[in-house]
């Protein structure tokens, strides 16, 4: 396992069974420091399950899931299931698991354009604001591993861009490994190092460009999506002519 020593998390042939059904199976993947790994796949393909295995929230039924010892994690779950009778301000929410100084809180909030909300009660936030605050909280922890489960759901178009830029920026500034679950394939293509395309198992993986061109990916996401991505992620080894055709 010496090659896994630098890795933050490493799943080896991991699978989880629930009610005699495999939620996911045969997942082999890892995240190293400074790396952005993205999970994509249709609904019910096991993206969140895989992230939960990586975080240790789910135990594997087969295979292994290892995490670096005493790793500092920042987690943005898909949903926050909280009863809003809890009186909690945004600022307090930032430090529920770890102490964070006021300065760091405000800095992290300003990164997601939510600094003005610091004193607000959490229950008054809109869906998009809540999402931004959750991302800010995870980043403020300066984690070694950042796990983001659909971080831009409900966030408006400009906010999406801010958050995705922030994720890329965070990788550079605090050199953390990032495990991202995203529907937004454009983001996946532009910043991700490795993509795992899931469908109950890993159906294809590799660089975004490689994955977008596999037949499995086309099968899962449809020809149209694959084409739109191919256009988006041109490698500049070609030119677009005015009529839209491509000159190599």
């Amino acid at each position: 396992m010496s090659e896994n020593q630098n890795k933050l998390i490493a799943l080896e042939n991991a699978g989880v069974m629930k009610n005699r059904k495999w939620l996911v199976r045969g997942i082999t993947m890892s995240v190293s420091p400074g790396e952005i790994v993205t999970l994509i796949g249709p609904n019910g393909s096991g993206k969140t399950t895989t992230a939960k295995i990586a975080l240790g929230l789910l135990n594997v039924s087969e295979g292994t899931a290892e995490r670096k010892n005493k790793i500092r994690v920042g987690y943005v779950p898909q949903k926050l299931q909280i009863d809003w009778t809890v009186p909690i301000s945004v600022s307090r929410f930032m430090s529920i698991t770890n102490k964070i100084s006021n300065k760091d809180k405000e800095f992290a909030l300003s990164l997601t354009d939510t600094r003005h909300l610091a004193r607000e009660e959490m229950r008054g936030l809109s869906g998009g604001e809540l999402q931004r605050v959750m991302v800010a909280r995870a980043i403020a922890l300066s984690p070694q591993l950042l796990v983001l489960d659909e971080p831009v759901q409900g966030v408006d178009f400009r906010g999406e861009e801010t958050i995705y830029n922030l994720i890329e920026e965070t990788r550079k500034t605090i050199k953390c490994g990032i495990l991202l679950i995203s529907h937004d394939l454009h983001m996946v293509m532009s910043a991700t190092d490795r993509v795992f395309c899931l469908n109950g198992q890993i159906c294809c993986s590799g660089t975004p460009n490689f994955v977008a061109n596999t037949p499995e990916f086309r099968e899962l996401f449809g020809e149209r999506m694959a084409k739109s991505l191919a256009v988006y992620k041109h490698n500049h080894d070609h030119e677009h002519r005015i009529d839209g055709s491509i000159k190599k």
Partner: protein
Amino acid sequence: MLDDFFIRSIIGGIGVAMVVGPLGCFVIWRRLSYFGDTLSHSALLGVALALLLQINITLSIFITSILVATALLLLQRAQKLSSDTLLGLLAHSSIALGLIALSFMTWVRVDLMGFLFGDILSITKTDVFVIWIGGLIILCLLILMWKPLFAATVSVEISEAEGLFPHISNFIFTVMLALVIAISMKIVGVMLLTALLIIPAASARNFSTSPEQMAVIATFFGICSVFIGLYSSLNFDFPAGPSIIVGSLLLFLITILKNLFFSR
């Protein structure tokens, strides 16, 4: 001082109010009011078992509550029914079992009304002592566990992913709840216990901007309820346990009025 029954009642009532305030907050934050109800209903079974096995009633209630909580966990794993259904099943089955067991024990004279609705005015020095010792244990645990417990209340997933072991704090919370039920039986009884947990906390919500503040205000409302209940019981000869609950209800209604007229 403790020779006067009224002083004993007040001191005992305050002891209970001190712990039901903060614990009640967690009960409503975690949407556990029906869970609390189930545990307190099972206290009657605890009473029956104590009389049957000749053991300490408080201890027996505590153990029965923990067993019922464990039964709930096991049923949740084995059954596809909702927690709501399982809680109703456990609450009323344990009350029914307790009543049958009590009816068979013809050799003991049981004050059933006292167990169901409390009998604070007959509180003994030992009762007061047990309430305060139990209460202090709960308060210490609560202060020690506050951070992980609160984090687990906000999000089990976040707190587990970020290394706070929410399952341990959830287990300790259940133990605290069982303990508070065991020590406050005498004050308001099986049927009204949940009200004492949730009404002061619910009243406190409108005044609070932080969780700690809500816990303190809930405690304050709980203590006020005890005073209102006991003094109206003394002056108008109302039953004490129900009067305490009605006292907390009055405070709750006042907080609603405050909200209606002074809402921002």
